[in-house]
Subunit: 346 residues, 4 copies
């Protein structure tokens, strides 16, 4: 059994990790690190774990969390991951960081967007940005994994097949994304207050959101040249789920069929990416609680434009699910191990 | 025009008062007192008032709020109303307090339940507990009005006709109440966090909730003898609305028809209480944004028990609407003035 | 008093009309026409009108609905408005049609999109497409008014100031719109089933939605030349409200300030269009139950692109509210008469 | 592997069964019977099963569904289960019926409440009402299992420990239950229409609901003497989850501690019933998607009354989860097999 600890276990992504790892056939949960609930049982913080995960939470800096673990998952606010990662790596543990600290290769850009110092260059250089469907081999070799943001995951999986063809206008990309509220985390604030959010759809992150450089970095790598993305996030009055509507002008000749075939072939055999059949639209609830990414692709012949609709659970494929998928690759396990949850419906 | 100020204007009940008063034909809003947004325009705090109420907010202790007003509405946390009320009364203004400070005639009970000192006895003695359908004449004479809590309003209106007959078992009353989340106010907390509350029905306030003594006090007055209530509040994942299901054993002979007739007659002519016709169940959305209280009455012949279902908007008849209805009476205005909002549906 | 009848009164737009007209100072509701509830009181269909609108509903074809009315509001499925409109006009009544029948000037296009015969050309020629902020004078002269769709209203108000300058790329417009579920009407179906929609964000209307030609027609008129719109609608798990995120490439030089100033000046003095101050984002709940359209405008200097966010209540400014605003103009009333509702919040 | 077929697979309980069985380590799903989607793949009806359960649906009367199965799950409208059950039993298959047909031992009562003929007496006599925590041994011997209703499950588990002591007033029981909307099934109707239900809490089922006789039958069996229940159901604007607040007068001496200890001991070792620790209230989302029943017990010393709060997922322990738990017992499998889902949170 692989010994795993989760530091930042009581955040929403953290507790989703605990849920997945508690049911993982090759993992034993050995430590939970928290900032606010030290000394409490995990099931006191989250009563739905009563009788299931009753581990006592340790402080995030408790050395046992790192010493005893084969893999350390970090779900910390940005700026807090680097020292924990360094310690774990020094002890030959592997690290999966769900925060933003290792996602941007350019440390200066990181500091500009996040207003905290970037991790040291040696750590940054070591980190692998991990979307398995894009970089499976590199992930399998990684010891320090930068788990992608939820918005970038939905947009990158939605655009990769097209970018790989090179037949797009790289300045035309618009990603209009809509996220459930759990993406904002567990911290109470007016902007996540039930009475304020319920029945209330809104836009935010204008003129520019932190996930933009992450998207541009990875999409440019796939495309092979620099490109830009106009990314606008919205808040949907629902808890989980994310849908990105992605607009991109094409070059060359396309049809609805050739567009769909491109996606179907690109993702054939992928256990966690499904291309919806013609006439179907993906919906967020169809991936609820799962590690799936569902795609719909539509061709606008008047504009030679593709509209790609990409749906994930922001806490699943957008966070904890993808983290475990990455861990499976890093340890040579079956990629789907512990991730066979079917979406809860209705 | 009656000059009105609202102290505690940015709480949910406060802003609902502002909405109602801004459309009241005989009222001019002259001052808004706040604790956290001093110096900001009201429409900066609540953008839906842009172009409608752009008044600059003053501090709650700003003397102008009291000096210039014919009526002062207080929407303050408990323990804060008494000094403001005393000042306003000294200047011959009338006071409508939406908080709890003047609701319990027994100052000791108040202190026990609310953990703050009770207002001085002279103020307590002066306060009139104001449900117009129960005590219209006393309210018309009042200068200091204790506006009832939302739970008590729904339960008292639901039980008054039966209690007035005296033909009930006074120890059998159970009030199982369900409230929308706006009743918990605008303060951000984990218990009102969108991701925690959405899709999540829960009970709270056990073994005993603060609104119990208020209910028992007023219901006992109506009944003419002491009685007790088993009151259990629940939180519904919705913003506005409250439904109380009230169980009471009857004495004497009853039928479905006689029970319904009692209610229909008792509330005939009341503009804000409607008894639903046979076969209909009241629903919270049918009073959304209005000052209505809708009642359904059902007779259980096997147990000689009445089940009364009482529905209000917790911010309307449960708070700001009733406050304005009381003000109308206190100033000799048409009782429905400014309160003709029809529920927003669907 | 203007005598008004509403044909199609029990649909959601119809009942919202009834709500507004019941509180209109210059209107007397004289008739309600329905397809399914003939002979029932309106308040039996919608209990929240108990004691407020207890009129008995007539069949939609009852001649009294047209004979006795100074203005007839039609809220019928498409294809059903023309004969009713003709009759009303013959009796010198004015007509406000909330359906789609008179919106497209090109009858053939209408038939292609709606699969029913278009109204006769003389009626089509007579109809005025009514967004008051765009065509106030023409509306004041109209006897047959085509009340716009909700999506077009939000997009047209969001784009008009820019199109009037001519400094846009007319082929670059993308309107990514998100609507509450009440826009789908009151008819029960799997796609509007509570358990299917709740917590479920989805896209629909691809590759092309019926509101596209309506938008293109009116936007082209404003722009002075033909243009196209890529319009993609989405369904938000909430009841009321609509937000459109509109992307348009600009020509010439712009700044955030010049862009915002354009909108502020264009809509200065408009009672129902508000431009949000810098740093604020419009939210759907801030117009809930009102006739407001709130706009936010954001400049992307890297792309010389404007992002306009436009928010309305789909049943308010998107249907019944705008219908009454149009009626006010058609009868020479104060434009805001009966439309002073402040959004219900929270 | 046990071969299982689900007849009525596209109802909400049916598809939840499919979800659970698809992940069950000892079950192979061999047939899906439907009424409306014959010939379609299951994943066309429910796209979230794409790539997971792509079985083609057969008609409910297709003999293969019964012939090939070791166990047949029936999720049919009432009145339709008996012939299917008889056929399956004749072929030595076991039957778990999720409908109401075999729940009431008294066929006449069944016909009175459900308005359809009762199954023949030999079948009724053979059926075992299956709540494992109450009748584990009988279930293990059963070939025809009547899977309980969701409301009765929540109430029976909430009351059993007290009834077994005999120290209650058997005429005092009030069960005030609140259910999510998925309990009303997948059929589209006005009463489950998104725009009608959202933000709308309501009561229904008065004066008496079909689940009352089922509760009274089973509670009387546990108590050893006839008792009655005043049961009032409510509809909560959420999809899944049920909370029953149960009031019962006690006899003899009790304390908060003795009451809680009774429940803790009674359910010690039960994998699917958890008694919340003092100071905690159970919430519906804490059992979302799981087979758990969470209980809170509170003592009212003024009335010598217990208030028991019982929470389940109406499609989990209230339907499909309990059905699989029963099947596990009937086949001598580990009782928790296939049921280890942890609640999805938040």
């Amino acid at each position: 059994m692989i010994k795993a600890s989760v530091i930042g276990a009581t955040g929403y992504a953290g507790q989703e990790l605990v849920r997945i790892l508690a049911g993982h056939p090759s993992v034993s949960l050995t430590g939970l690190g928290v900032q606010s609930y030290e000394g409490k049982r995990f099931s006191e913080v989250y009563p739905h774990f009563q009788g299931i995960v009753d581990l006592v939470c340790a402080h995030t800096r408790d050395p046992a969390l790192v010493e005893d673990a084969d893999v350390v998952f970090l779900g910390m606010p940005h700026g807090h991951s680097a020292p924990l990662a360094r310690e774990a790596l020094a002890r030959r543990g592997k690290v999966v960081d769900l925060g933003a600290d290792f996602r941007l290769r350019d440390g200066e850009a990181y500091t500009r967007w996040y207003q905290v110092p970037a991790p040291e260059p040696d750590l940054l250089a070591r980190a692998v940005y991990g979307i398995p469907e894009i970089r499976r081999d590199a992930i399998a070799q990684a010891t320090l994994l930068a788990n992608p943001g939820c918005y970038p995951t939905s947009v990158i999986l939605g655009l990769a097949p097209l970018l790989e063809t090179g037949r797009v206008d790289p300045e035309s990309i618009i990603a209009d994304s809509k996220s459930g509220v759990s993406g904002a985390g567990r911290g109470a604030s007016l902007s996540t207050h039930f009475s304020e959010v319920t029945g209330n759809f809104s836009v935010y992150g204008l003129p520019a959101h932190r996930h933009t450089p992450e998207m541009e970095q990875e999409l440019s790598r796939i495309y092979g040249k620099d490109l830009t993305v106009s990314f606008i996030p919205h808040l949907v009055p629902m808890v989980r789920g994310m849908l990105s509507t992605i607009y991109v002008r094409l070059t060359g000749e396309w049809t609805q069929e050739s567009l769909r075939a491109l996606y179907a072939e690109r993702y054939a055999g992928e256990p966690f990416v499904r291309v919806r059949p013609p006439g179907q639209y993906p919906k967020t609830k169809e991936v609820y609680g799962s590690n799936m990414c569902d795609l719909g692709v539509y061709y606008n012949d008047k504009k030679n434009m593709a509209v790609v609709v990409s749906v994930i659970d922001n806490l699943g494929k957008g966070a904890a699910g993808q983290a475990v998928q990455n861990m499976n690759l890093m340890f040579g396990l079956e990629e789907t191990a512990g991730l066979t949850h079917i979406a809860i419906y209705p």
